[in-house]
């Protein structure tokens, strides 16, 4: 157990905050942006997949999203919110790709779908979470970390991480309920 914690601690030291990486990217450090891509790749791909249900298209849209994020990075006001921001871009890219695919297939309906399944709403709700909660959800479910590991990586008490997860669930439920009643 001690060894595992040490390993995770070492890992956390290798993980500069998103804000630091965004600043470094803005200063011209492309490597820093590469780290942001690696960190948020799964969340972005999951967001695209939840819309498109096609891994190849989701990959293409995910790449488009990161390229657009790179172009527009200087416009990101809250630098710690990179993850949610790039997921929002990814969702837009995926919706656009879905529209194009439908148009190419000459299907009668070209409008943006209400939902391509509840996973889409789920990932949209994740993207909308406050950054502190979103990062906990991403580490827990898309990085496969136990709550204790998440706590070490983020340098937060385990109880805090559990509370943040709980608040995240509550928020996501509320968000998805609102979507359903629209």
């Amino acid at each position: 157990m001690t060894l595992a914690i040490e390993k995770v601690t070492a890992l956390s030291e290798e993980l500069p905050a998103d804000e630091t990486l965004v600043r470094a990217s803005l200063a011209g450090d492309r490597e820093a942006f590469g780290k942001l891509v690696r960190r948020h790749e799964r969340g972005v791909r999951a967001t695209c997949w939840s819309v498109l249900r096609d891994h190849h298209l989701a990959c293409d849209s995910g790449q488009d999203a990161f390229v657009e994020a790179y172009r527009g990075l200087s416009g990101l006001k809250d630098r710690s919110a990179f993850g949610g921001w790039v997921m929002t871009i990814a969702r837009r890219k995926a919706l656009r790709a879905l529209q194009s695919r439908r148009a190419e297939a000459a299907l009668p309906e070209v409008r943006v779908p209400e939902s391509a399944g509840s996973d889409e709403e789920l990932m949209e709700a994740v993207a909308r979470l406050p950054e502190q909660e979103r990062v906990v959800v991403m580490l827990r479910f898309f990085d496969g970390r136990e709550v204790g590991e998440v706590a070490v990586i983020l340098g937060r008490p385990e109880g805090t991480v559990r509370k943040q997860l709980s608040r995240a669930y509550e928020r996501m439920r509320g968000e998805m309920m609102r979507e359903m009643t629209k």
């Binding site: 630091t20 600043r23 470094a24 990217s25 803005l26 200063a27 011209g28 450090d29 492309r30 942006f33 590469g34 891509v37 690696r38 790749e41 799964r42 791909r45 999951a46 997949w49 939840s50 891994h55 990959c59 995910g62 790449q63 990161f66 390229v67 657009e68 790179y70 172009r71 527009g72 990075l73 200087s74 416009g75 837009r92 656009r96 509840s118 996973d119 789920l122 990932m123 994740v126 959800v137 479910f141 898309f142 496969g144 709980s166 669930y169 996501m172 439920r173």
Partner: protein, 441 residues
């Protein structure tokens, strides 16, 4: 479903989405290769400090400040004992060359970076030591510095640390107007507002007992105070110190120019660069030169801004959705899209489209008259064009280049030629001035 069941359901679905994702090897590498292959300009931090305004047009930062100088037909005269401080801006703007050395400071005023600038009219510039700042826990520091050479043949950006060179093609008129803008902005940098000089003391600098004058400038988000050290024998500055105050923070040094050489002899080879064999060379698209900003899928940028008089500016610009570039001329008619133009102190400007030249990419370079009835001071005449769309707002402040009367018509004609379809003729200065006159009535 009770709360625990709902929570379990959410967790199950989140795990389900994750499990549906296959491993995707090389995803991040492919993203970075695209950024490299498409020569996407490096994201830069928008920073409205005075120094960054000077960088506009040099390394592609979308920021600039307007300095409209009504006339500069006065040239540098021979040394004289008595001088009128009010004449100094005009005399500086009459120079053929300018050489500056100094230090630019981080936003917290702690770290410094030496820089050197050579300007030679028309269209030649070299700026050594452009700092790329990075913020760490202990404050800002210089991550690296780059050198930039601008000539009518192109722009060379040199990163000696990374052994990289970026080469961007330029047209002669693009280079001329960018270098001219740099010249005018730097003179403004050295002299502050140039209008409200107050002598504050005498001080010895570089062996000269200089008259120290103070001048203040107010820019979006910051106030600057400049101390200009004038040589009483020549009536020209020998040193300039710029201090800025941002938000509620205390005043911090922004930059110090300790060498100011008007009409300096520029060393041979200053504007040349032989690329060493071990350097990586990237050919950048011409696009890299233009001031540009993006909100979501919308591009927005100004290429030329030429002052016609105190009230009117001829602006060449573009705004379009990257997915529908050919529909750009109706872009601002779409719901939620808006163009807003403001000058110093919120002065309103009107825009009138004179002509639009289609590009191979489908969008148009628009030639517009931008006019106001209440011009700000002739010296510090900042104009900000903002594109507001539903996804956000982007603003670019720019500097209309002011030209001597005898050059203006020629420059207006040559600038139009770079966007006109082959064989077509642009508007004459007289025609444009007549339209500007109609707008002001």
């Amino acid at each position: 479903m009770n709360e625990q069941e709902m929570q379990d359901d959410l967790e199950r679905r989140l795990r389900g989405v994750n499990e549906a994702l296959p491993e995707e090897r090389g995803f991040s590498e492919r993203v970075m290769m695209r950024i490299q292959a498409e020569a996407i300009p490096p994201a830069r931090e928008k920073d409205y400090r005075l120094w960054r305004y000077v960088m506009k047009g040099v390394i592609g930062i979308a920021a600039g400040v307007a300095v409209g100088v009504a006339v500069w037909h006065l040239s540098v005269g021979s040394p004289r004992v008595a001088y009128a401080v009010e004449d100094v801006p005009q005399r500086m703007l009459g120079l053929k060359t300018l050489h500056l050395k100094g230090e630019v400071f981080s936003s917290d005023g702690t770290a410094g970076q030496r820089i050197e600038l050579f300007l030679q009219r028309p269209g030649m510039m070299r700026l050594n030591g452009v700092p790329v700042w990075i913020t760490e826990n202990a404050g800002e520091k210089v991550l690296e510095s780059i050198d930039v050479i601008l000539t009518p043949k192109g722009r060379i950006q040199i990163d000696a640390q990374k052994k990289q060179v970026g080469i961007t093609p330029e047209t002669e008129i693009d280079a001329q107007l960018q270098a001219e803008q740099m010249f005018q902005q730097n003179v403004q940098m050295l002299l502050g507002s140039g209008e409200d000089f107050k002598k504050v003391r005498s001080e010895k600098t570089g062996g000269i007992e200089a008259d120290v004058y103070e001048s203040k400038v107010e820019l979006p988000g910051e106030k600057s105070r400049v101390e200009v050290f004038m040589n009483p024998a020549t009536g020209l500055p020998v040193r300039s110190e710029v201090y800025s105050t941002r938000g509620g923070n205390s005043e911090k040094p922004e930059m110090v120019f300790d060498t100011i050489e008007p009409d300096a002899v520029i060393p041979e080879g200053t504007f040349k660069f032989d690329v060493p064999a071990d350097y990586q060379v990237t050919q950048m698209p011409a696009e890299f030169s233009f001031m540009n900003a993006q909100v979501n899928d919308a591009q927005f940028g100004v290429r030329f801004a030429i002052a016609l008089n105190k009230k009117s500016v001829l602006v060449c610009w573009r705004a379009y959705d990257v997915h529908r570039p050919a529909e750009d001329l109706t872009f601002f008619e779409e719901k939620g899209n808006q163009l807003v133009i403001r000058g110093n102190g919120g002065v309103e400007y009107q825009e009138r489209l004179l002509r639009a030249d289609e590009t191979a990419e489908g969008f148009h370079w628009r030639w517009s008259l931008v006019t106001t009835e209440k011009p700000a001071s002739a010296w510090a005449n900042a104009i900000s064009m903002s594109m507001r769309i539903s996804g956000g707002t982007t603003s670019d402040a720019f500097m209309p280049v002011t030209l001597p009367k005898n050059e203006l018509a020629d420059v207006v004609e040559r600038a139009q030629q770079v966007t006109l379809p082959a064989g077509e003729k642009g508007m004459t200065l007289k025609e444009i001035e007549e339209k500007a006159g109609e707008m002001s009535h």
